[in-house]
Symmetry: C2
Subunit: 216 residues, 2 copies
């Protein structure tokens, strides 16, 4: 059972708190504004009216017991910086903060925030990527090193079967689906004997450099 | 070569325009504010100073030629509503609008916007999901029917190799990675001879019902 604290119940903070609660997590919601705390009462386990820049208040929270703190205290950058500093000193495991600018991000990371994000910029980047690569599979990082990508098969692959090409053992990539270039439909988990047509698009999983190695 | 128009060059619009340009797309940036248009000149193919609620101006754009319009004209909801209405009438293929509230979203969709998003709320929902399900792989739908999911292997799998279990041919699922339950590290693209330990977590790709069939 995951335990979270959300400090600052503006649009962003309130949405995070309500969604986490709906997903079955244990939520403590904190704000200095009474009305906002009351609005959250139906959607959280604990809703507390408090000034989170009050270090004594934070000490009483038993900060180490929570999986993550989400801080979104609005346009006053100083409040979120102070809260992050204190939470880090008190041993918070993870601190995610909504930031107002790239300088604010730098300061937050320096005082101990685990992650600092500017929602509008993050969303703008995601939108740009999904517009430039409308095949979500074309841009899907799975981890630091591995991604899923769509490729046009190199000419030497045409007519060969997946098993002939030894993609897994030799190239260390896995073909998880074939996209028919005409119908755009995906056929997942092709059989080992599947023969590649030059009109196919391969949907592969692999390390970024191994994928580039095939593309070339 | 994808062609986009971005109307409204505040933080959101400017970020979308610059990112799309960096990703190799053809960008036309429009704003009524001269300084903002000038700031974008290095980052777009065309940067135009204009009031996009002027229907005559939009008619001269040859709206049908573009893949998508991104509209983010700020707190004045009326401008984006009017622009969406006109773009739809002029035959725009796709119109994505940054909205200010859920009512604004409803109105935009009614007048013809393809998509209307409130970046802060979208980001809040994504953050909540990634906090509640920190294994992104645990929550990754790839298409209508297929997903990637993490599973504890059923007891009868322990000690067997992937190829013995005929997961691909018999169960129609692919094990794309093994997660070590102690270190939490992922080993992608396990070999066919890999023997499953009962302390492994299998990261599989398959149809939702085939995955459930294994879980059971
Ligand atoms: N020191 C503090 N302790 C607790 N709550 C605080 C503190 N400072 C600010 N807050 C609360 O944080 C919330 C910030 O929400 P606000 O709407 O101002 O901005 P935001 O988070 O940038 O935007 P959004 O509404 O989009 O989330 C307010 O409800 C405010 O009362
Ligand atoms: N009718 C219009 N035609 C062209 N540009 C417009 C029109 N109305 C507003 N704009 C521009 O849209 C931009 C909106 O940016 P603004 O910073 O106000 O808000 P926003 O998009 O909500 O926020 P953000 O800065 O986070 O993107 C401004 O640069 C403004 O000049």
């Amino acid at each position: 059972m995951k335990e979270f604290v959300v400090i600052g119940l503006g649009n962003f903070g309130a949405t995070v708190a309500k969604q986490l609660y709906q997903l079955g997590c244990n939520i403590t919601a904190i704000d200095v504004n009474k009305a906002r705390v009351q609005d959250l009462q139906e959607h959280t386990h604990q809703a507390i009216i408090a000034d989170a820049t009050d270090r004594k208040f934070l000490e009483n929270l038993e900060v180490k017991n929570f999986d993550c703190f989400v801080v979104s205290t609005g346009e006053d950058s100083h409040a979120s910086i102070l809260i992050s500093l204190y939470l880090k000193e008190l041993g918070a495991k993870k601190i995610v903060v909504k930031a107002n600018s790239t300088d604010h991000v730098k300061i937050l990371l320096k005082v101990g925030a685990t992650e600092a994000l500017i929602p509008e910029e993050e969303m703008a980047l995601k939108l740009a990527h999904s517009l430039a690569f409308p095949n979500v599979l074309d841009f899907l990082p799975l981890s630091e090193e591995y991604s899923i990508a769509e490729l046009v098969p190199p000419p030497k692959f045409a007519g060969k079967s997946l098993i002939d090409l030894e993609l897994r053992s030799k190239h260390h990539i896995e073909v998880i689906a074939i996209r028919d270039v005409l119908t755009r439909k995906l056929q997942f988990i092709p059989s080992a004997g599947y023969q590649i047509k030059d009109s196919d698009i391969l949907v592969v999983l692999g390390k970024d450099e191994d994928i580039e190695g095939i593309r070339g």
